[in-house]
């Protein structure tokens, strides 16, 4: 619930997402929104304490960035280790990795639709707060469907455990392969779960179409300006520009849908830069060639987003038939490409759920996946490695530099939610400005603001794997155009000064 203190509303904590976040809304004299901030008030410190650790421990240490998407960090780390040791895993190892990864993406997308973001649609954005959750979803869709959801998720997580030991924080990834081969009976289990997941994905799409697309209020909400931002989009694609979660090139399209860039993971530093703001612990990614122009949409601002909607926008098609069919309907219904409506991300996520299930089916029906050769032992001296995967929430980059013994000297981690951080901040502000009017504040109005945030399925634990220090006070004053005209800085000893070294942009 809100806390109104002198024209100021706090939503603390934001709920049904991973990690810590709060929203601060400032009202003007008439009770309309002057400005709204999305803040991330937590940090841990992975980039620093990875230094001194062994490179081969990175898949398990960095998975602790996020227990919701541990497999994404595990896989980005393992790919960075392949690159570090210049070693090519045998075909079966790559297939096992991608099969586990597909199972993980499917499970994570199911989690979001039924447990985290979906309740806003399934139970309703204005339902009482105590019912707007997975238990409310089960009441709404019936216990039988609820049990199907639970069973689908459990079986997919069991696949991760079959290969990775554990579903939360798996252990199977090694440079040049995986720790053990897939047995024939395990392959049969993968194939069985793939079939069931595909059925469940199709059921989920039907449910979405029935509950959301046949409800004109929801469709109008999805299309509304409050939930629309014209930004760049980024996602990984294969050689045919089809969405790929595990491997490929990074493609970026501009707000008008044209290809802006397509680059190899090793070139990421030429395209991505991070901007620091003093009021949050998260850093804001933007396109380096465009530069940081503030929280501004359009081709002249460097803001992009990642994740399901961005992947559909940044690719040309899906690699599997049912997902491709669903994708065609997605773009035909919403009428343009790219689709700039944030809430359409929920739909895009289900298109991807179909793809993940179909891809899992392809891989698990290929006899080669059970080949016993799953390791290539490294022989090269390690130096530097970069690994990129598409996490469920978007592009995830791990970059390590080591000494000749494979001890980490430097680590750079750019996670999905950092890529989305600027667009998320804009979404929070825009929905707040639209829905908070004349000082009228209610739980369901504020939930609309949280809905904008939840569509991204943000992972704030991931976004703040970094960890800063602090100095006590910074005051920035802006002119009406938003330019900073004065900066006052209070040092740790309490000394206040105007500091010309501090940022004016």
């Amino acid at each position: 619930m809100a806390e109104l203190q002198q024209r100021r509303i706090s939503i603390d904590p934001v709920t049904r997402l991973e990690g810590h976040g709060k929203i601060e809304i400032f009202l003007d004299d008439k009770g309309n929104v002057d400005h709204a901030y999305f803040q991330v008030p937590e940090l841990r410190g992975f980039e620093k304490f990875c230094e001194g650790r062994l490179a081969e421990d990175m898949p398990q240490i960095t998975s602790r960035i996020c227990g919701v998407c541990p497999t994404a960090h595990h896989m980005a780390a393992v790919k960075a280790l392949d690159s570090l040791y210049q070693v090519e895993p045998p075909p079966a190892a790559k297939m096992i990795r991608e099969a586990v990864y597909s199972a993980f993406v499917a499970e994570d997308h199911i989690l979001h639709f039924y447990f985290l973001g979906g309740p806003d649609f399934i139970v309703g954005p204005s339902a009482p707060a105590a019912e707007r959750n997975v238990l409310g979803v089960i009441v709404k869709v019936g216990l039988k469907v609820g049990q199907q959801v639970i069973s689908a998720r459990r079986k997919l997580r069991e696949l991760s455990a079959v290969v990775g030991g554990k579903a939360v924080h798996p252990v199977f990834g090694l440079p040049g392969g995986v720790a053990k081969a897939l047995k024939h009976e395990e392959q049969a289990q993968f194939a069985q779960v793939a079939r069931e997941t595909l059925d469940f994905a199709a059921f989920t799409l039907e449910t979405f179409e029935k509950l959301v697309l046949e409800n004109s209020d929801y469709v109008n909400l999805i299309r509304s300006e409050a939930f629309t931002h014209r930004t760049y989009y980024m996602g990984m694609v294969d050689e045919n520009n089809q969405v790929n979660f595990y491997d490929g090139s990074i493609r970026v399209v501009s707000p008008d849908g044209r290809e802006f860039a397509k680059f190899h993971p090793k070139e990421y530093l030429d395209y991505i830069a991070e901007h620091v703001e003093p009021w949050t612990y998260v850093k804001f990614c933007h396109l380096k060639p465009v530069g940081w122009k503030g929280f501004k949409e359009g081709a002249n601002g460097g803001i992009y987003s990642v994740g399901p909607l961005a992947r559909l926008n940044a690719s040309k098609r899906m690699a599997t038939p049912l997902a491709q069919q669903a994708r065609e309907k997605f773009f035909a219904t919403l009428g343009s490409k790219p689709v700039h409506h944030t809430l359409a991300t929920h739909w895009a996520r289900i298109v991807e759920l179909l793809y993940a299930a179909e891809r899992l089916q392809q891989l698990s029906s290929d006899p080669q996946i059970a080949d016993p050769a799953v390791r290539t032992l490294p022989t090269q001296i390690p130096r530097e490695g970069i690994g990129i995967v598409e996490a469920p929430r978007g592009t995830l980059i791990h970059h390590y530099q080591t000494n000749e013994k494979g001890v980490i000297q430097k680590a750079n981690l750019i996670v999905a939610t950092q890529n989305n951080a600027a667009r998320i901040a804009m979404s929070v502000e825009k929905t707040a400005q639209t829905y908070v009017r004349n000082g009228e504040i209610s739980d369901d109005i504020l939930n609309m603001v949280e809905m904008a945030l939840r569509a991204y399925d943000p992972c704030l634990g991931c976004a703040t794997h970094a960890q800063p220090g602090c100095v006590p006070l910074l005051i920035r004053t802006r002119d009406p155009l938003g330019n900073i005209v004065a900066v006052l800085y209070r040092d740790t000893d309490g000394h206040v000064r105007r500091n010309p070294d501090l940022p004016l942009g």
């Binding site: 400032f26 620093k48 707060a129 959750n133 997975v134 901007h275 003093p278 634990g461």
Partner: protein, 335 residues
């Protein structure tokens, strides 16, 4: 009908993996919510901090807190939960022992700060902008919680009644604890709710563990093909099974990788890393210094190997702050 007992779940410096373990109760989670009300759980339910603050003291039967403590906000939240709850459970490695985020105790706030905000390869920041405790933009004041130099375990900040070990605890461990709680059959206060013996005793590869191990050299897992049936230590791979509390169902071993110690020590051990180091040293054949150094050549990161989940709870606790010119007391709650 009597009111159902109330439960709360909260995360501090955590990854959400413990919350996933709650979801991994699957169908059994429905049984739990039929006999108890979950009144606070940010990852899944829309109750806010204000709702928690409005509850009567001790009105919650038990709060399960995951994550280590490293900001003022986390400290305030666990104190609030402590006052509202009859029992507090440290839930998972981070709140129990400090966990992986506890490795940050090898550094200071300032060194971490430089790495992330000014030296980072993708962060061009020539002006040196840093996150601030208070930022005022045109009269709008925004605050961030203060960040401590030292990561702390939950029981270094508030009284803890029970501990659930593991990164994350298994659904089985969690369910057993919830059942004991709801049936009033919890053991003596302060207990770690998991078997009190070493993982080796329950290891599926136990039969291939030789009575007397004498290794000339430890090997790194990427350098050898690992046999799926044989004791990992016998294959020369550093496995912490001899020192680690059981209860994890040997999941990592089943994944054909060694135990890294997330369940922490048994009740007879004060410092997990010290115990693990001693257990591993005892299987090295070498007796002379040169041979010992040779045997451990492939263990170049002993902190990461032996204290990966337990640095804040160890006797070492953190790297000395004085060395880096920091005079702030490392062990005070405000340090």
């Amino acid at each position: 009908m009597a009111e159902k007992p109330k439960l709360a779940f909260y995360w501090c410096a955590a990854c959400g993996g413990c919350d996933e373990a709650v979801l991994d109760l699957e169908e059994k989670l429905l049984d739990v919510v039929s006999s108890a009300d979950i009144v606070f759980w940010p990852v899944a339910l829309d109750f806010k901090r204000r709702d928690l603050a409005a509850m009567a003291d001790a009105s919650i039967l038990a709060a399960f807190v995951s994550g280590a403590i490293r900001t003022t906000e986390q400290q305030e939240m666990v104190r609030l939960l402590r006052s509202k709850s009859q029992l507090v459970f440290a839930f998972g490695s981070c709140s129990h022992l400090g966990g992986v985020p506890g490795l940050a105790n090898l550094w200071t706030r300032d060194t971490i700060f430089q790495t992330v905000y000014t030296e980072n390869a993708s962060t061009p920041n020539p002006d040196g902008t840093l996150p601030q405790l208070i930022t005022v933009e045109d009269g709008r004041e925004l605050t961030l919680p203060r960040f401590y130099d030292t990561v702390q375990t939950l029981d270094q900040v508030v009284d803890v009644d029970y501990y659930l070990p593991g990164c994350p605890p298994t659904p089985k461990i969690l369910l057993a604890a919830v059942n004991q709680l709801l049936s009033g059959q919890l053991p003596e206060r302060g207990a770690v709710l998991a078997p009190d013996h070493a993982l080796c005793e329950d290891c599926p590869r136990r039969d291939s563990h030789p009575d007397h191990l004498a290794l000339d050299q430890f090997k790194r897992p990427q350098d050898v093909l690992i046999d799926e049936g044989t004791c990992l230590l016998a294959q020369g791979i550093l496995c912490l099974g001899p020192a680690t509390r059981s209860g994890c169902e040997a999941q990592c071993i089943k994944g054909n990788m060694p135990c890294t110690g997330c369940f922490g020590p048994t009740s007879r051990v004060r410092d997990f890393g010290g115990k693990a180091l001693s257990a591993i040293a005892s299987v090295a054949a070498a007796k002379e210094e040169a041979a010992i150094l040779q045997a451990f050549e492939n263990v170049p990161d002993p902190i990461g190997a032996f204290y990966r989940y337990s640095l804040p709870s160890s006797l070492l606790r953190r790297r000395r702050l004085q060395e880096s010119g920091q005079l702030e007391a490392a062990h005070s709650p405000t340090g």
